[in-house]
Symmetry: C2
Subunit: 403 residues, 2 copies
């Protein structure tokens, strides 16, 4: 008999209650056990909800109830969610979460705590909404030495970029539309500045390369400086602007992790990922490239990932799940300064000045370009080398090109 | 201590030996146990291979060696492979396979046998080469009621279609090129007639819907009748010709499974899957659509999936893995006759005759079309309804359009 408590009755929490209830027969058949929702913790009451009778306000009830084996944390943030997670693990309950901030900042410590108490800490829903990626990374691709993770990890920014590309909306107009459609928060900072993608690449990179990568170790650039001019020049060279999170393992074992806009070739699978969809590519020595694609957020997709983890925890009450995710440290990451790429540059400069600095380059054209604006693609070089060549020019946009 | 025996030292078997050896430190760290290759069974000797000293010719050595806990079957076919699989399972050894024919025709029986002997029968590598799909289907998406699986499941035919579309090669020329590049067998029947894709959709459908679907229950059409004219008309309406395997669960629980060429919208993720790559889309009630993409075949990708299963078996020597895959029967499937789609038709008929039969339709044009050839897209209808309307016409090509 598995009894579940949900912490937080927001979008994801209510979705979890819904999926656990609606698909209960199917879930119990797969788990070979009864799986029942017993409590939902929230500060509010929900008298009109079908789950209203399960609402409680005191976490200690869950903590001290020996019947509860699985706690679902959908509170978000790294404060009260952290306290409740720790208390639940210490009380011998497995914890399942969709909280990327908590996993990205304290994942290693919480997994260690889970290990000490012989329970599981599972977080499939923390990256890519409902897309199965955590379990494939830790299990299905386990025979590979992984070398790179690269993905479109944030649906809000991908929606905004898609609307800029397809409808010609400015960044501000596309953001406003995203907010009106519920795809962006009223305070969109975490999405548009890349913080959300940063947390997700931390989780994926930590899992792929076995050491905790912290958000503070990951240079992060959002999409607020991407303009319609950049989108037009990208189109002129058959590419699309995408915000990517990347984690690349160098030969010496250090990981270059960063978040930044990229120009992606139009025929690459990542280029066809539109609107709020996410996609994550994984490179391994044996497998080559694989890609996982699907809805990156949303109530039911995210709930479906949470419930899959609940089922996994329920099936493994006595055999804890291992993940290979060691402690962090200063020796884990290194800035992507050494990573060579071709670059797209838009500058206030004449073509002669560009040629003088870069030699022969591919110049790009767009209709309506103001006088004095020059856009071009460079040969492969590092960012410091690029900055050296740009020293005398006023660069308006600099975007890395994905190989 | 986990000791492994490989049956068959062909492409996949030698890849498994290579990955097990090359990534051994990494594998043992993840499994928390020693994992060693002890025997390779083959009829031939391989004196020059680095694995030459492990080659044996007598299966009884493996069967009777209590040290062997995991047997990897890469023999192929459903005869000797079946006998050895049964004997290994009866001897209390978990079996890992890449053999889609054996799983598609005897999967349920072999899983029952594994259950009786408290061992695992795992087959991640039987579908999609190295793409993780079996475990995501059985675990990560477990919280969903799945409604449809649809995929590009055969790399050979996708390569041929890609070359027809991109290079304008005829079917025969593209097949010849595929054979020269090692992407098609000298006897390509199983690929081009759709049998390989049929076996794979049987495996995926059985797993998704919980009852064994047999190849004989799956109407199967290959790509031998697809012409450059069809490719050109598809292009004219923004679509691409793709061979798809589909399994769709009807409201009444019956599964419509079939393999046939389809016209896929150019902006759909499946349309961007080119050459020997595979992709599998899964629809669930909570998740919506997710897609898994990667190399559908090849020595190391397939070996990587096999070794992931070996690692899984090694980690679960005492806790057998369940899969929800019940017995087959006449009540499991139903022909896709009731499935409504729009259709692409190329016929020797005048536009008046077409209008008389179908009412208003979208006519398509291509350069160089012979007089009397008419191509058009119909409204949504079932195949029997379509055949009724086509009764008086000479139809040259009839291809279903994917929604």
């Amino acid at each position: 008999m598995v009894k579940v408590a949900i912490l937080g009755f927001g979008t994801v929490g209510s979705g979890v209650a819904e999926v656990l209830t609606k698909n209960n027969a199917h879930i119990e058949e797969k788990v070979h056990n009864s799986v029942q929702l017993k409590y939902i913790l929230d500060v509010r009451d929900f008298p009109d909800s079908p789950f209203g009778d399960k609402i409680i306000h005191d976490f200690a009830l869950i903590e001290n109830d020996p019947e509860i084996n699985v706690v679902v944390e959908t509170i978000g943030g790294a404060r009260i969610a952290k306290e409740f997670t720790e208390r639940a693990l210490r009380a011998g309950k497995s914890v399942v979460t969709s909280n990327k901030e908590l996993v990205a900042t304290h994942g290693y410590d919480l997994m260690q705590l889970a290990k000490e108490h012989d329970v599981s800490y599972l977080f499939e829903a923390s990256v890519g909404g409902g897309i199965p990626i955590i379990r494939p990374l830790s299990q299905c691709l386990a025979a590979n030495e992984l070398t790179e993770i690269c993905g479109i990890l944030n649906g809000t920014t991908n929606y905004i970029l898609t609307r800029m590309i397809k409808a010609g909306l400015s960044f501000d107009a596309a953001l406003k539309e995203a907010q009106q459609n519920g795809y962006a928060e009223q305070d969109p900072t975490a999405d548009i500045e890349g913080h959300d993608a940063c947390r997700k690449i931390c989780i994926l990179g930590s899992l792929a390369f076995g050491r905790h990568i912290y958000p503070g170790q990951v240079p992060t650039e959002g999409i607020t400086r991407v303009t319609l001019a950049d989108v037009a020049y990208a189109d002129a060279c058959g590419r699309k602007v995408k915000l990517l999170g990347r984690a690349i393992r160098r030969e010496d074992g250090r990981v270059m992790a960063y978040v930044a806009p990229h120009l992606v070739d139009g025929s690459a699978p990542l280029a066809s990922v539109e609107a709020v969809f996410n996609a994550i590519t994984v490179k391994g020595d044996a497998i080559g490239d694989v890609m996982f694609y699907g809805p990156g957020a949303g109530k039911l997709p995210t709930a479906s990932a949470v419930v899959a983890d609940v089922m996994d925890a329920a099936k493994h009450l006595k055999t804890r799940k291992y993940m290979s995710w060691g402690p962090g440290g200063d020796d884990v990451t290194t800035p992507p300064d050494g990573l060579e790429s071709a670059w797209y540059v838009r500058a206030e400069a004449g073509t002669d000045a560009v040629r003088a600095a870069f030699g022969e380059v591919d110049f790009l054209a767009r209709s309506g370009a103001p006088a004095g604006e020059t856009a071009f693609l460079t040969a492969a070089m590092t960012r410091p080398a690029l900055d050296g060549k740009l020293a005398g020019m006023k660069a308006l946009s600099v975007i890395r090109i994905l190989d």
